[in-house]
């Protein structure tokens, strides 16, 4: 019982801990930093090439395409082989 009352007191103390809170101050020269950021982000010409042209992404994309191509070629070869086997179009001499 005493424990519950103790918890309730702590809860109430925490709930009222923001009473009398004063405003925090941003760091000095906020506007100067903001102005510099606006100039950098909005007023300077943007890079013509986006992230997709960064070497790492470009190389990864090329590697992905190569892997897909290899898989496609391999699976085509397999299909062709299995077709010829299935219909038995050629005899052992190649006719």
């Amino acid at each position: 019982m005493k424990e519950i009352s103790n918890i309730e007191t702590k809860v109430e103390q925490a709930m009222t801990s923001l009473d009398g809170i004063s405003s925090a101050e941003p760091k000095p020269y906020f506007y100067t930093r903001l102005h510099a950021r606006i100039e950098h982000e909005l007023l300077t010409p943007r890079e013509v090439l986006g992230w997709q042209f960064k070497p790492l992404y470009a190389l990864s994309a090329v590697a992905c395409l190569l892997i897909i191509n290899v898989f496609t070629i391999l699976s085509l070869q397999k299909t062709q082989l299995s077709n010829s086997e299935q219909y038995n179009l050629y005899d052992s001499k190649g006719f």
């Binding site: 918890i7 801990s17 809170i21 506007y31 930093r33 102005h35 982000e41």
Partner: protein, 191 residues
């Protein structure tokens, strides 16, 4: 100079007018963001993003609401976006840890201590901020605007674009959830 004149001057491209707007509202914006993101450096970044958004969309502001209301709305939206971004980063923490060369623990939550608190309340408020952080977004915004920014119900209604009953309900649920969360914490850490 009133808000309309100030906005007209900014729209006309006067940098000095934009500077006045920033310097008049930077503290309000910064504090709103700080209470939600609970990190000083991130709050500064997000506060800057709020004013960049203002700079970019000042032509779209029709003046249907007060300038301060509009600023609060952008500030709360941007702060919530920042939290969502952090949550996403946390979900991918495994991968970022995998590729990180330093052995530092990334994405670890640090207890927030608001610089505007009375000394005797600092320790108690850490748990409250922790509990606020676990609230659903709408409840978090309503509670922060009411209890930290000191906005009236009318102002919260305008910022959140909700009815009075919705704001009252959000605040009631926020307080109930905070009490539950704090009680659980003190039960588990009872010494």
């Amino acid at each position: 100079m009133n808000d309309t004149e100030l906005l007209n001057q900014i729209r006309a491209g006067q940098e000095s007018a934009f500077r006045i707007l920033v310097e008049t509202h930077q503290k309000r914006v910064f504090n709103t963001v700080l209470a939600i993101v609970q990190n000083f450096e991130e709050a500064e970044d997000v506060a800057q993003e709020v004013f960049i958004e203002v700079y970019q969309s000042i032509h779209k502001f029709r003046g249907d609401s007060k300038l301060s209301t509009w600023l609060y709305r952008i500030a709360t939206t941007k702060a919530l976006e920042e939290i969502r971004k952090k949550e996403t980063q946390k979900r991918f923490a495994f991968f970022t840890n995998l590729f990180n060369n330093d052995n530092e623990i990334l994405h670890e939550r640090i207890e927030f201590e608001h610089p505007g608190l009375v000394l005797e309340n600092k320790e108690k408020s850490k748990q409250l901020f922790n509990a606020i952080n676990q609230l659903p977004e709408n409840q978090k915004v309503a509670y922060t605007l009411c209890n930290i920014e000191g906005l009236s119900y009318q102002e919260i209604m305008e910022v959140m674009q909700l009815s009075l009953s919705s704001v009252e309900s959000l605040l009631f649920r926020a307080k109930t959830n905070l009490r539950k969360s704090l009680a659980n914490f003190y039960k588990n850490h009872n010494s």
